[in-house]
Amino acid sequence: MPSSAPALLALAGLAGALLALPAAAHESEGEALARLELALAVAPRDAELWRRRAALERARGEIDLSGADLERACALGLAPALAEQERGALARAAGRPADAERHLRRARELAPDNAATLAAHAEALAGLGRWREAADAYARAIRLAPQAGPDLHLARARALAAGGDATLGEALRALDEAEAELGPIPALVQEGALLELRAGRSDAALARLGRLPPPTRRRERWLVQRAEILERAGRPEQAIAEYAAALASIEALAPARRSTPAAVTLAARAREGIGRLSRPAEARAR
């Protein structure tokens, strides 16, 4: 250990203590920055402190300052994969999605098994409309994550679906895989129903919705959704019955609840549905 090591250790300890100072009154990112600056004054060669300051500046929209601090952190030995990930985040915050993707790709090359890096790269690819690559990156992130949550599965399916009708089946299979792993999670089931509708398979959409337990209260949204699918499936009588049941449910609410924006919007959807279906078939066709 070099002779200056004890002094360095003491400085590092002081920097830690400064970081741990109680947050000042009404602390915002600004106050947090001030505390970091104090710590940096004591330990100016601590790459992690520079990285944290860069992240705070990025959150405040101070892109140039953040970039300078990040490069300082890199010069002081910030791990290359982390550096690239931070550069990606910075480029994204700066509105440079292509640069963000490039940095995140580099981060991914440096840490190929890091699920969080993969997910960030997938998001960047999706932001650029590179759906196939995004879906593949999401799939790999899902495989590598200790326990991939619904967000990653949903993002993967949406990337596949955004790729066009050719990958719609793949998107539905991705949702099925996710359901097999996580169970009938509402977002996965609903997404599947929407994709089935897009493929013109109303029965399959209803079957997917059937996997969700029906609500015991405030049934109107559920009823309107079923009605809309039945309407698209060409089953006007059943659709009208569901729309009517939804309206009845809304009408049965106390006046104050019935007049909330959400209830009014929903009632309008139901009435419009009944209106459409009550017109003669020829008029509906037009």
Partner: protein, 749 residues
Amino acid sequence: MRARLTRFSAACAAGLALGAAPAGAESIGQFLVSTGASWRYLDDGSNQGSAWRASGFDDSGWAQGPAQLGYGDGGEATVVDCGPSSPACTTGNFITTYFRRTFSVSDPASIPQLQLSLLRDDGAVAYLNGVEVARSNLPTGAIGAATLASSTVGGAAESTFFGFAVPAALLVAGPNLLAVEVHQVLSTSSDASFDASLQVTAATPIPLTRAPYLQDLTPTSAVLRWRTGIASATRVKWGLAADALANVIDVPGTRTEHEVPISGLPPETKIFYSVGSNTQTLAGGDANHAFRTPPPIGVGRPTRIWVIGDSGFCAVSSLGCTDAGAVRAGYQSFAGTHPADLWLLLGDNAYNSGTDAEFTAGFFNVYPTVMRSTPVWAVPGNHEFGASDSPTQSGPYYDSFTLPELGEAGGVPSGTEAYYSFDWGNIHFIALDSHDTDRSAPANPASNVCPPGVGGAMYQWLCADLAATDQDFLIVFWHHPPYTKGSHDSDNAADSSGIMKEMRERFLPVLDAYGVDLVLAGHSHSYERSLLLHDHYGVSSSYSPALHALDTGDGDPDGDGAYQKEALGPSPDSGAVYSVVGSSSQISGGPLNHPVMRVSLNILGSLVIDVDGNQLDASFLGVSGNVLDHFRIEKGPPIADQDQDGVLDPFDDCLLEANPGQLDSDQDGYGNLCDADFDGDGAVSSLDFALLRSAYLTQPGDPGWSPAIDADGDGVVGALDFSRFRTAYLGAPGPSGLACAGTPPCPSL
């Protein structure tokens, strides 16, 4: 093949000699398996599944040789085959090589403990009599023949023996088997090494580095967790008295992170327990280590809840430890002999970055006397995410807590521990991740609440979960407050990256629509508590008491009176109280002048909530246990559902007959199931019978078909419909709870 047979023959005699049973009882320090011992091994790249680990497996066809076994380093006593590129061993090397060693034990009862020393390059799993006892440099979960080691081993690590405490209870009198599988990190890894010893040792104290804590408690199950400083066996004992822990759960193998699910518990019962290994009790077996299982879901009982927020400052500050300890003591002073049934953490449980060490220092070391008897339910705050990640559910936060993701404690499965719900008696709790989970919601979220398939997974799950609950009280908690003027400012869209604004604008309309009663958050290091509020999603300047306050009083039964909500159960758009409880280990002030807040205090403390009958009482406690704020939400009687079809009477178009689908084909307000008045004249008469007769056995599209006559909605007018008609004959349609019933078409249509 010939060379293999030769090696087997040569080693056989040595193996017999080494495997001879020692005479008499074993003694401390004795090696049951020595380094350099002879092992049988299989080095052909095959997949042996799991049968090879069993004592009765026939390994007579395997080769045998003395340790160290391996290749590529030059010092091996026995060189094993590396694969098709042998002897260069440059590519396509076998991933897994199997080793077995049989040894004899005379008196297992004389052996307190065993120490396994394992040299492995690159990774290995060891089994004693078929039970996994050590895993080194291999991933968790199932291990197959193709599983790669977690990292490359080089330098001194190639000759390091790694130690593992092994429970002696796995030994049997007579022959015993130690089996080891060694895995490469890559098929191009140029070397492999293996040796091991198994020694009789005195029982060493197992350090308890995280005291036992309760997770995922339901009426019939619980998860007990604790951490030890060395890998050890896992045992939980439980029973109905501290000195009668008759139920024993042993988990095979050894580990430092112990997580034991317990099932088959009786509801509403005090359960005593102890935790430890097969040789040592590390905690429990006394009156302090006990918990009470909740009542069955839906059954209301007096329930006490302790709530702390931003409590983890002890991880980085001795002052934080002092303050967190004082807050804890204040609660314990208040609670006395009536501790909380459950406990909520509002995030920032471990400053500054939520590392594993910070969780230990900031949470587990601060509350050992609470967490051993009160189940804790957490949400992450911003400070957790220096080291954890929600989309992948990785990092210390997710490693530390076991939270329900499959609806195992009630509620709709979320598929993630980042956000989840659970039921406790007649209370439904919802936990959201405001920081690291997609917060997407529909456009115009105030008027477009819960459209199908729109928004992020958390938003959609929240909609489904709230729609599915029928509980008397609804409590939602997350970290970033929708309203605060404390150390954070919810009006400032730049503060906390706009999360507070997003949560307010996107999620509060859903909570309003479904009648949530109480919303808890932290983040600002203060206590702030609103009046009874609804329909306010803007900044503080947009607040209007006339529009947004349902009760501007203080909610204190001894003051302005309790906040009233009309019905027990979800009461849509009937207002909620919003509380910031972020001063459980530090205070940071701020202007504390948000207009929706009825009380704002820059004081250390925590919140205790008592739910009893139709009342929810909340008390903010200072560090001496003094009540600094008290409010009550009082709800009316429950709304009936006489036919138990899930549709409450005011909304039900057949009051006394279960028709969850609410089919009402003639739109007269009476559901088909209770409406045999097909002609709408207000009576079920021969005229209606004539209509039934003409429609009998028809289906959609047939002449005479009428959906209104299809009472059971099965698509055909049949015997069941006739039977129902007979029951209703000469009566009136209904009864129905709909306001428009009997006035066809229903005015609302």
